[in-house]
Structure formats: C-alpha cells, structure tokens
Symmetry: C2
Subunit: 193 residues, 2 copies
C-alpha cells in the first residue's frame, strides 16, 4: 500500500529519502533492536522525524517495510516444506523453525507482535494476514494425517510461538527454540479425552 505501481509518482527526493530511511532503520534495528526510538532512525537517515511519518504512517509500518521480504520468504516456504517433508508434522516443525529463526534474529521483533502495544496493530495484522494461512495449511495437513491434536487453531499456535520467542535475544539462559520444540512435540495426539 505504499509501493504498488499505481500510486502517484513520487518526487525524486522523496524516493531517495524513503530509501535512506529503510536502510537507516535496518541498521538501527540491528544495532539497537526494533524498539529503537524513531528519532534515532531519523537522525541516522539524516532526515527529520516528520519525514518518517510521511513515508510510514506509523512506526509499525516502517518495521513492516524493513522486514517485508523476509516475511514473504517465510510464507512461501510453507507449501514447499509440506511438499518436501516426510510428514506434515515434520514440515510444520521445519516451518516453525524458520519462523522462530526470523523472530529470534530480529532483536525484539517478537515482543512487538502482541497487538496491544502502542500502535503495533498494523504490524500484528500484517504478520498474521500473511503467515496464518500458511500455518493453517500445515496444521491442517498434520491434523488430517492424524499426527497431532486437532483442537489447535493456527492463530493460536502462531501467537504462542511468537510469545515464546519474546526476550530470546536478551537472555542467553533462555532457549526459546528448545521450548518451542517441546511445544510442537506436545501437539502430537490429544493427551486423553
């Protein structure tokens, strides 16, 4: 919605600034995490704060823009894994690994997935819109194959995984992938009815 071809053509300085902002944001996110102050990003890009908001209506939109292609890659990997994997449950596991890798790699991105934070609804919505269907497909396949309990909804699982990734970057003691591994393992079969 900010880069589709039908938009009014932008002035050259605007295009240049948008690019600077994306680069500066990416750099700052790596250095200080996704929670870095908007002002820092503006400074780094050599623009005013107002400029950020003209290009990206909200902080979340900037984050989305920075990570969009990685999210796309993750989304596209789903069907591929399902086709390639030995079983749907294995494919689900691998896909979750990708997702977790993404979340854990990005300094604090996970914490931001929860929507009630200041104005992160957009980001939340984007992630979910894009990835929930993929997760649903994997989950369905595994449930249909009788490998896992069938009372887990995709959104629920994604949210749980996201939550488990929170803070994974700060505390070396906390091994999110391990817990997620356990969670996925625990999905197999209902305990007992």
């Amino acid at each position: 919605m900010s880069d589709d071809g039908t938009a009014r053509p932008k002035r050259s300085d605007a295009k240049r600034n948008e690019q600077s902002l994306l680069e500066a944001a990416a750099a700052v996110f790596v250095a200080s995490g996704v929670e870095a102050p908007v002002r820092d990003i503006a400074t780094r890009a050599g623009v005013g704060t107002g400029t950020i908001y003209r290009h990206f209506p909200t902080r979340a939109d900037l984050i989305i823009a920075v990570y969009r292609h990685q999210v796309e890659a993750c989304a596209e990997a789903g069907p591929a894994l399902l086709a390639a994997g030995p079983t749907p449950h294995a494919a689900l596991g691998h896909w979750i690994d990708l997702f977790v890798d993404f979340l854990v790699t990005k300094h604090g991105l996970a914490a931001v997935l929860r929507s009630d934070n200041t104005g992160f609804d957009t980001l939340h919505a984007y992630f979910l819109d894009r990835l929930v269907p993929v997760c649903a497909q994997l989950l369905d396949a595994a449930a249909t194959a009788g490998e896992i309990r069938s009372d887990i909804r995709p959104l629920e699982l994604m949210r749980g995984i996201g939550n488990l990734c929170i803070g994974a970057h700060e505390d070396p003691t906390y091994n999110a992938p391990k817990l997620i591994d356990a969670l996925i393992a625990g999905l197999r079969h209902p305990p007992k009815p």
Copy 2:
C-alpha cells in the same frame, strides 16, 4: 522490605494511605489491568503521585505488594502437590496450572514479567526468586523419575510459561492454558536421541 516489623513506626496517616493505595491499586488493576497509569491509582486512592512513590519506590513494588500473598500461596502449593500427586509430572502439571491461573487472571501481569520493561526488574526478580526454586523442585523430581527430558531449566520453563500467558486476557481466541498443556506434555522424554 516495606512491611516487616523492624521498620521505624509509621505515622498513622502514612499507614492509612498505604492501605488506600493497596486497595485502589487492586481495584484499578482489576478494572484496567496492571499496566494502568500510576496517576489513575493515585487519583483513585485520593492521594498525589508523590505519595505512591514514597510508599512504593517503583510501580513494580506496588504490584508486588498487591499480589504478594497470592505468590506466596503459589509457592507453598509446590511441595504440597509434589507430596500429594500420583507422579512428579502430574504435580508439575498441577502446579503450572496454579501459576498460569494466577498470571492469566491478572490482566496483563504476564507481560510485565519480562524484565527489560521500564523498571520492572524488581517485580521480575521477586517472582523468580520466590517461584523458581519451587519449580526447580518439581522439575527435578520429574526428571529424576525419568518422566521428562532433563535439559529443561526451571527458569527457562517459568519464563516460557510466563510468555505463553501474555495477552491471554485480551484475546478470547487465544487459549494459553491449552498451549501450556501441550508444552508440558511435550516435556516428556526427549523426542529421539
């Protein structure tokens, strides 16, 4: 550290205000969640914001004070469950249920358990100091009995559980206890060596 008998005796108005604050905070937490602004609590208690900070050096300390007895109860339930339950794993499960109940009940408490938030270190530390040993005992017992994988550290598990509870209150779609159930189930035995 704010209510032990050896402290200098307080003036009567101070005692009264501390009580009002605890009550007001409890009420506001129920109504608006633990993240409610300090000013709201002060207003509700009919005191100035400064008064809050004289009694509770930081927001987190107020939260601790409000929930202290519930945390104690949870801590004390651990050994009891271990003694009563059929197996250590069952006891662990029940104890986690208690813990989760507590977290989920309190509007947003879970989100606050992660320490990197502004000044919640105290709260984080208190919860962990009090509950991690209990969790350790249960985990040890279950691991020793060979019921669960032995590479899970107490702090790690607690943290994961806490994370899974985040946002449970806001979104009826998100069933934290179910996921936690799966996680606990997934703790049994290493998947494959």
